[in-house]
């Protein structure tokens, strides 16, 4: 037996939580910004092309303006020289925003344990999902995307700001 609005209006309405409705909408239209610097970016090309086809997950609208994107995919090695650029672009993205760290380099510096490579981008910006691999297979990246979609649907609330004020990276003064 339907109660409330559904009892009065029948099938023409559904009641739900605002969070679920927004989560559902967000989940189906992530707009990624590809911060592709190295080999992992070539694997992203595979993810975007027809065999793996990221559009099956509603995330094919790749934006190269950070202001139009809500998902940053960091694909590749980040050097100290690159780090301020990464941070600046992350800061330019509007809330709410998510970050996938793709590949060993972005996650931990990978096998570049040396004077020029940032040992994990989470020392610069906050990261939501890490993807292992050097490079990760396209399926692994798609899995990370699905992981973020799950978070959006289940855990996010518009009442809670996604701005992570606690995060202090190496470049935050």
């Amino acid at each position: 037996m339907a109660v409330g609005a559904e009892a009065i209006f029948g099938d023409s309405v559904i009641t739900t939580k605002l969070d679920s409705a927004i989560g559902w909408a967000r989940e189906s239209s992530m707009w990624p910004y590809i911060f592709g610097t190295a080999c992992c970016a070539i694997e992203f090309m595979s993810v975007a092309s027809s065999k793996f086809d990221i559009s099956r997950f509603g995330a094919e609208v790749v934006r190269f303006s950070p202001r139009q994107a809500d998902l940053m995919i960091v694909a590749g090695t980040i050097s100290y020289k690159q780090a301020p650029v990464l941070k600046r672009i992350y800061d330019q993205m509007t809330e709410p925003k998510w970050v996938i760290s793709m590949g060993a380099c972005a996650c931990s510096g990978g096998f570049y344990d040396n004077y020029t490579t940032v040992q994990g981008i989470d020392s610069i910006i906050p990261v939501d999902v890490y993807v292992a691999g050097c490079p990760p297979r396209p399926e692994a990246l798609l899995n990370a995307l699905a992981e973020i979609q799950k978070q959006q649907l289940k855990e996010e609330s518009i009442l809670k700001d996604r701005v992570n004020t606690e995060f202090k990276g190496e470049l935050d003064a």
């Binding site: 610097t37 190295a38 595979s46 050097s79 020289k81 040396n114 004077y115 020029t116 940032v118 490079p135």
Partner: protein, 557 residues
């Protein structure tokens, strides 16, 4: 031959055991000038330096600078070096002779702290401007990172460039950064331009955003451990980098590979060349707005990835070579998969060509854009398809054949103008030639070993490792100590997908190289980019850059 040089400088040089001419630093500039003007050594391959402070054998002084040059027909190579005064660390710049030495010398300054007198702009090129110290010096700790807080504004380079053209920075110009995070910047290249309307008045390029310390990392890994690092130089054609590195080390060891190993190298190497060209063409056509071609040209790559995964275990970063041969033999059904790949590549290519070959828009966008003449291209250090597009038939597979390339029937594709159109069309044709080479190699593929049977180089069979103490020890020694390479300084190159891809290796007789320097084919063309762009439209800058096929991994190392 270099008789004029030998004649003129006979009292001034000594020739060391590696065949390298050693000259006093004050004679170096005139020696190189003589080689260039009188002996027709027109092509500067590379400039690098060596820090001998931890070398096992004493040397005249701590640092030396090394120059590699090729003669007019590209067949002969000469290596010259000069030891520096430890107090001053100075040497005369050769930028007045070779344009390509500009960035090469900046790199030596950046990495070793050697000053080149009269260099027009001696500033860091790979590391950030706030970096202190010189990382390739032996006393610089490998893990000592230095945080960079700010990006260089490049005005110090822009203002003099503008002044040369009669502008000041207060003129009504628009300054714009293309990159380092820009979809068309192919990775991480930054071009800073001054615009008047849509015309580029002046441009400055900055690289180094993907500098990841390859050369320093090589100094604490054994030779075989370096192979995975080489994958990530030009990651669009990882196997060719593996081959180039292994080929150099094998040259130092004086090894001749079994025929089958060489043929396998040809087959997978050419396949890598094809997929490298495919990604270059696909990306370039997208940059022009011809999006459909991306799928036509990129999807065959997926077919090749499938084959590579079966053969090497990885799609992109294959690490398929070993010193002395290849890692595994071809699998059952390889030929069938290969034919399938070739069919897909041919189909993708003909589909793409049917859209662009006679397409007016394509012609208008690419012809006479980004023109580089043959003489300029040589002086600027171009090689590979970029040089051939300018009409110079230099291909290492013909000038210095290795792996039986002399026995294959194939043509060198050359352009006539040296514009974007030629650079793209040369790549299309090279794909065809590579397919033909692969087919010939498959027909002639001999049986036999795939790696040299030399217990100082290759691992013993698994059976011996498990069942005999000698086998275990042999295995253990090769893995932990590495392949021992005789004391030598040596340069060798192959035809990479982008051009001459060479390694200059200094060995002190141990299993770890003392120094490795890559000669990345796209470093020199990159330094020539600003001149290509100036005077052109902003939209053309994107395709001019794309047509050079700059791969940040090998550019910045």
């Amino acid at each position: 031959m270099h008789e004029n040089f030998q004649e003129k400088f006979k009292d001034l040089y000594t020739k060391d055991s590696d065949g390298i001419y050693v000259l006093d630093k004050d004679d170096l500039h005139s020696a190189i000038k003589c080689l260039k003007d009188e002996d027709e050594f027109h092509f500067l391959v590379d400039v690098t330096a060596v820090d001998y402070s931890k070398y096992l054998y004493p040397k005249a002084s701590r640092f030396c600078v090394v120059y590699l040059l090729r003669n007019k027909d590209f067949k002969e190579i000469i290596t010259i070096k000069s030891f520096l005064d430890d107090q001053t660390l100075e040497i005369q710049s050769i930028t007045d002779l070779f344009q390509s030495s500009n960035w090469a010398e900046r790199e030596v300054w950046d990495q070793y702290g050697i000053k080149f007198l009269d260099h027009p702009n001696l500033k860091r090129v790979l590391n950030h401007q706030g970096f202190e110290g010189h990382p390739l010096r032996k006393d610089y700790p490998i893990i000592k990172g230095q945080i960079c807080n700010e990006t260089d504004d490049l005005m110090d380079e822009m203002i003099p460039r503008l002044a040369k053209k009669g502008y000041t920075k207060h003129d009504d110009l628009m300054f714009l950064n293309l990159g380092p995070a820009h979809p068309a910047s192919h990775g991480t290249i930054r071009t800073f331009v001054a615009l008047e309307g849509e015309t580029i008045v002046s441009a400055v390029t900055e690289i180094g955003y993907l500098h990841r310390g390859f050369e320093k990392s090589c100094e604490n890994h054994t030779y075989n451990q370096i192979i995975p690092y080489t994958d990530r130089l030009n990651y669009c054609s990882a196997i060719l980098n593996n081959i180039a590195f292994a080929h150099t080390v094998e040259g130092m060891l004086g090894l001749t590979l079994p025929d089958r190993a060489q043929f396998i190298r040809v087959i997978v190497g050419e396949l890598s060349r094809i997929i490298d060209h495919l990604v270059c063409l696909a990306a370039n056509l997208v940059d022009m707005g011809a999006l459909t071609n991306y799928w036509y040209l990129y999807n065959p790559r997926e077919t090749v990835y499938t084959l590579f995964s079966k053969l090497t275990g990885a799609r992109l970063t294959n690490s398929y070579m070993r010193i002395g041969g290849v890692a595994h033999d071809l699998y059952d059904g390889f030929e069938e998969d290969l034919n399938h790949c070739i069919k897909d590549i041919e189909k993708g290519m003909s589909d793409a060509l049917s859209l662009v070959e006679k397409n007016r828009i394509f012609h208008d966008r690419t012809q006479n854009i980004g023109v580089v003449s043959a003489a300029e291209a040589i002086n600027k250090g171009f090689s590979g398809p970029n040089l051939r597009a300018s009409g110079v038939a230099y291909d290492m597979r013909k000038t210095a054949p290795y792996n039986f390339y002399e026995s294959f029937d194939f043509d060198i594709a050359v352009g006539s103008v040296g514009d974007v159109y030629d650079r793209l069309m040369v790549r299309f044709e090279e794909i065809r030639q590579s397919i033909s080479i692969i087919k010939q190699a498959m027909n002639k593929l001999p049986s036999g070993d795939i790696i040299v049977n030399d217990r100082a180089v290759s691992l013993p069979a698994k059976n011996d490792v498990y069942n005999s103490i000698e086998g275990v020890m042999n295995h253990f020694k090769i893995i932990t100590d590495g392949v021992k390479v005789p004391t030598k300084e040596y340069y060798r190159a192959i035809e990479g997908a982008n051009g001459e891809l060479g390694f200059y290796i200094v060995s002190d007789g141990t299993g770890t190289p003392y120094k490795v320097k890559v000669r990345p084919p796209c470093f020199a063309p990159m330094s020539a980019l600003p001149e290509m762009l100036e005077g052109g439209m902003i939209a053309d800058s994107v395709i001019s850059l794309g047509s050079l096929n700059i791969i940040a991994g090998e550019l910045d190392r």
